[in-house]
Each structure stands twice: as structure tokens, then as C-alpha cells.
Symmetry: C2
Subunit: 249 residues, 2 copies
């Protein structure tokens, strides 16, 4: 257990390096040896990561409309005509967390170079998960706009319960990470209220319920984009992880 979790934890520590670029995950404790290795690596080993959550031709009108709704609140204009940060911030989304950390291409080979993030493992735009996350720091909320492609089928013509769970885990874990640094999912309690037709666009709204020590309690609702239809309700529990916590320190 300690070895396994320690391996994940090291991955997360390295992910701290990602925060220098994206400001997503607090940079905490990276071993000096790792930093030295990275410093000596040539820059061509660090390709520019592709953000998979930018608009593409597969996006339908509802996906695009909702994206623009939140995107235009990321930067607002003051009365004096100056631009300043708005209440929402768009989060980038890559097809592997570790790969795109500084030095991650090298580091990822130490784990599995072929590995891809489950939600971004299909190249064909629009075929599976098309999604984008926005965060509102002040309100401690995350919103995800999801367009569910034809490769996510469960019941005929509708989205698989596991695909819905996958997006819920993704959104709530991202939210918990933003609030507390690296976390692991401890519990997902999902109530499925109404099926989601394939091809439709839905909203996932994640809210912090409370924090108790290492525990972060988050709720998440999946609704139609106008909020009139409730598809699922979830309570999720995450545990903050650090090397000292997990390795008995």
C-alpha cells in the first residue's frame, strides 16, 4: 500500500511543477534531485501541451453557447474601459497530467509513456468526452460543460452510468485539488435521477460542502444547461495526500 500510494504521491509531487505554468496546483515539495534532473534537461523535451478544452468543430451550438457564457466572464471590462480578471477562470485540460509538467515527458517514461488520461484517450473530436471546466474561486464552485459523444453509450441511445461517474470524479477531484492541493478520491455516492441522451450537452456544478482536516466534502449536480432537468446528484469525499501523510511521516 505505502509503495503504491507513494508512487502516486511522487507523481503528484511532480505535478506540482505543472503549477508554475498553469497556476492550478500548489507547488509544494519537490525533491531536490528531481529539480536538478529537470534543470539539466534540454528544452526540446518540453513540447507545448495541447489544451483539449478549447472550442473545435465538433462542438454543437449549446456547447459553444455555454462556453461563451462562462468564457466572457473570465475577463471583464471596468467602467473606465480597462480589462480585469472576472469571477470565472477557464482551466486547461491535457491528455496526460504528468507528461506536460515541466520535465514531464522525461518523467512520464519512468511510469508509463503510453498512458493517457481516461477522459482524453480518444483522438476523434466529439466522439467521446468534449468538456471544459471553469472555476469561481470566490464562490468555491466549479462548472463543467460536457457534450457527450456517441462512444459513451450505455443504455441504447443514452450515456453510460460509468461515463457520467467519470466526469463527476474528474470535476469534483479537480475542484478538491484546487482547494487543497493533491487529493485522492475516497468516496463517490451518485444518485442517478434521469438518463442523459447521447449527443446532448449538460452542466456539472461542483460545490464545496465542508473541509474537515484532510477531508474535503464536495457535492456535484448534473443538470440540463438551463438547470430545469436534474440528471444526477452526488456527494464526494476526497483525502488530501502528501508524502508525509501517506508514507507514515
Amino acid at each position: 500500500m505505502a509503495r503504491s500510494v507513494g508512487r502516486i504521491c511522487k507523481g503528484f509531487q511532480r505535478l506540482g511543477l505543472l503549477s508554475k505554468q498553469t497556476q492550478l496546483i500548489p507547488f509544494t515539495r519537490v525533491p531536490v534531485e528531481t529539480v536538478r534532473t529537470i534543470v539539466t534537461l534540454p528544452s526540446f523535451l518540453f513540447p507545448q501541451p495541447r489544451d483539449f478544452s478549447l472550442p473545435n468543430p465538433s462542438w454543437g451550438s449549446e456547447m459553444t453557447r455555454m462556453y461563451e457564457h462562462y468564457e466572457c466572464q473570465c475577463e471583464v471590462e471596468t467602467e473606465g474601459g480597462q480589462k480585469q480578471k472576472g469571477p470565472w477562470r477557464k482551466l486547461p485540460s491535457y491528455n496526460r497530467l504528468l507528461k506536460y509538467a515541466t520535465g514531464g515527458v522525461y518523467l512520464s517514461k519512468m511510469i508509463q509513456s503510453k498512458a493517457r488520461l481516461f477522459t482524453r484517450n480518444i483522438r476523434n473530436p466529439g466522439a467521446a468526452f468534449e468538456y471544459v471546466l471553469f472555476v469561481n474561486k470566490e464562490e468555491q464552485k466549479c462548472v463543467c460543460i460536457l457534450q457527450a459523444g456517441h462512444l459513451l453509450e450505455g443504455p441504447p441511445g443514452h450515456v453510460h452510468g460509468g461515463a457520467i461517474a467519470t466526469m463527476i470524479d474528474t470535476v469534483t477531484a479537480t475542484h478538491a485539488t484546487l482547494l487543497s492541493g493533491p487529493v485522492m478520491t475516497a468516496n463517490l455516492n451518485i444518485n442517478y435521477r434521469r438518463p442523459i441522451p447521447l449527443g446532448s450537452t449538460v452542466l456539472l456544478e461542483s460545490s464545496l460542502e465542508k473541509k474537515e482536516g484532510r477531508k474535503i466534502f464536495i457535492t456535484c449536480r448534473v443538470t440540463s444547461t438551463d438547470g430545469s432537468k436534474l440528471h444526477t446528484e452526488t456527494s464526494a469525499l476526497f483525502l488530501s495526500i502528501t508524502a508525509s501523510h501517506l508514507l507514515g511521516g
Copy 2:
């Protein structure tokens, strides 16, 4: 809601046709019009479905060993040397439920011909979910052997919590369907105890807890193949669905 659920329900009704071939799902009420349409369709429209849960070169030694362990219990030899059904039965697994029902190729075009089952949407063997289900009718248990490929990544080097939830939903929903006919997932309550390294083979064991009217309560444990490591524990609730139940009849 009625329209949406009705659409799923019709899909399931058509899935009843699948049971004639596989004996998986009780054939209940198929509209006479549908039967007439199917009867008049030429046979070349019904290709032989591919069973994705048969051994392939991507299977590692542990996956193969576990498969053989259960497969050899599907047919046993009596003292007199005769072969007879054993306690376990292997379930076939297709990449779309509806498509491979009798007449399903035609019927699936009425919903979405491109749609694929979420767990079987990647062609490359071994890259994502490699799994096979066995059922023990007498013990009211299902077992799934899962080899988790490199496209299922969540935490660096480990399986995404959503991918684990996907397999839990798949196994428990299949089990509930075998027990009660067509069902919908109502609740999944998943406790994540220990991460699963990418590439490893694990067992999902599903057991009937109780049935109360339309409700089917099922538990599911994900463990290492020798049972020594517990990865997740789940309680799941399913609701039986029929046209009369769901459309207010």
C-alpha cells in the same frame, strides 16, 4: 422524462430479442409491429456479433490464468466421463447492445448507428478495458476479470476512479439484469480503498444483497486476483424497468 425513459425502455424491449441468442435477458414484450419488421428483413443484415471477451494476445498471464480458472468451471466432467454444465457460465460481450440484437443493425440506425458501448469503444486490444464476465446462477454471483490498459489513467500510473466506477456499473448492472430483466442504475456508492496500478489485473465480485419490489440491491468488491488486496467496495441500487412501470401504466 417519460419520452426519454420511454426511448430507453424501447431499446431494452428490443434487447429482449437478444435473449433468444444469448439467454441473458428475459424476452418480455416486443411490439408486434417490430416483430413484423424484423421478420421481413433479409438475413445478411444480421452479421455474426464479435464477442470482445475472448482471449487475445494483449492478455497478460494473470488475465489468462484467471480466465482459464473460471472457464474450466463452465463445463465439468461427470464420473462417467460425460460433460455437463458447470456452476459458472461465461457471458459474451459486444461493442453495442442494440446492434447485435436480431434485427438490431436495422433498429440501431433508428437511434444512433455510430454509437458504441463505452467499455468497448477502443479497437486496440489491451489499450483500455479488457474484461470478461462469468455468472454463477446458484450462488447469485457475478465475477469480472479486468485487465486495465494504459488509456485508463487517472492519477499518474494508476487507473482513473471513473474507469473503476464504469466497470462496477457494468458488472452490477449486468448482474441485476440477469436477476430481474431490464434495469436502470439508481445509485452507486463507491468507497475507494486502494489505487489500482495501470496494467494490473483485478477481480470484480458482485453479489445480490436483496430484492424489494422493483429494487435490486447489489454489492461489489474490487480486489487483487488472489483476494488479498481490497481496492474498492460498492453498494449499488437498480430499478427494474418495464414500459408499464415507466410510462405510467
